[in-house]
Amino acid sequence: MGKRVVITGMGVCAPNAVGLEQFKSALSSGRNGIHFQQELQDLNFGCQIAGKPDINKVELNKYFNSVQLKSEPGSGLVYGVIAGTDAWKDAGLEIKNDSEPDWETGVIFGTGLLGVDRFRESVLQIDQGQVRRLGSTAVVHTMASGISAYLGGILGCGNQVTTNSSACTTGTEGILIAWERIRQGSAQRMLVGSTSDSGPYIWGGFDALRILPRAYNDNPGKASRPMSATATGFVPGSGAGALVLESLESARNRGARIYAEVLGGTVNSGGQRQGGSMTAPNPFAVQRCIQHSLEVAGIEAREIDAINGHLTATSKDAEEIMNWSIALGLRAKEFPYINSFKSTIGHCLAAAGSIESVGAVLQLKEGQVFGNVNCHDLDPAIEDIIHRSRVPENTIPVSPEIIAKASFGFGDVNACVIFKKISEEI
């Protein structure tokens, strides 16, 4: 038995809200964060809508110093620093500039491709023979670990500072890496999260794959339809989510507010076998991942009150429900409540797992399961497996105690984590 790990702080920069309080009310009320994007139309995208955090009102000089701001950090860097710094402060931690680093605190902040706009500019400059004009930040704005490097420096972290990358599993995987590190006593505290840039250079490849909805450019609020019979693809999103994970001991010692306990979980891969491929999950691997997560967490399937699925709004949603049902051995009315936040924020890619985990943990805190938007026409293939009532269309006050969160990504990689409500007195 390793150390128990709890969540003591959270921050989020999501398409439908920036900041924890706003995000809670956005998810609770089903506020849409998906909008028409002129630049995608100008570039002849089939899908011209996306989820993009509105940071116009955020005072960036509270997060970056003037030299950092002058270098114009890219969107992913900005979202990640906002979410990460907010989580740190939400955990009641200070930023000390005149002390040695905090040797017991590290950062795991993942991404897919960081600073893609800056990378494009750099490529164009290099191709024009102007490599000498790149400036000092061309490297740190475009290295994947730029986001963990920025946060580690801003916060003064002296433990492991790194970036993980596993496509759409990134954020959920990061939580499990941090959980493991604290559990085994290698760190007392880890800031964990993930971020994803906005813009055509991130989203273009998915448009080319023809897995994004094309029929909703003039009706963006209806486009992201997880579990719906009329789902036609995922809406691309962007943003960042962050959580402070900490040993229960450390949290108690400093009297921190505790959102939830991370009971544990599993990451695995389907090896692109048994029906799995670069872009589709091996169902047996997904089931193993879920089952093993329950074992690691030491809970029974029936103890799960709610699932926050990966559920992107493609034809794969019914298969995901089937995998959950088989893995848990639960069907129809026995099946836990299940939801997907992607209906209002889209699929935030590398940031999906962290943003959605923040939302999942907020459900424990609020005693609610947030409603699903755009699935009034539930896919009949899903209704064959689970009862309609398990897919709430409105937020319900059912005081969940245990929530399972899973993410699945390109490369046939899976991650599942179990969160449990914890009373502050224990």
Binding site: N65, S66, V67, K70, S71, R133, G135, S136, T137
Partner: protein, 83 residues
């Protein structure tokens, strides 16, 4: 352009790169960029690019190496502009 004009322009180029514990008033003609103004060597790269843009000149590697103080910079800029 007078020396004072060069100095003022350089001052406004350099000031955004000052660390928080160094004030704009500390930028003097004899100030050493790295040792006295605490500008990190990476940001000196950006100052050189801003100088190039402002004065429409190209600074070579040896110019950058010679640019240790504000006064060095003014001399190099003037020489480049008079070519």
């Amino acid at each position: 352009m007078t020396e004072s004009q060069y100095y003022q322009k350089l001052k406004s180029i350099v000031s955004p790169y000052l660390p928080e514990d160094v004030s704009v008033d500390q930028i003097q003609a004899d100030s050493h960029f790295i040792r006295e103004l605490n500008i990190n060597s990476a940001n000196l790269v950006d100052i050189v690019l801003d100088v190039e843009d402002e004065f429409d000149i190209v600074l070579e590697n040896e110019d950058m190496e010679a640019m240790q103080t504000v006064r060095d910079a003014m001399a190099i800029i003037e020489r480049k502009r008079s070519v």
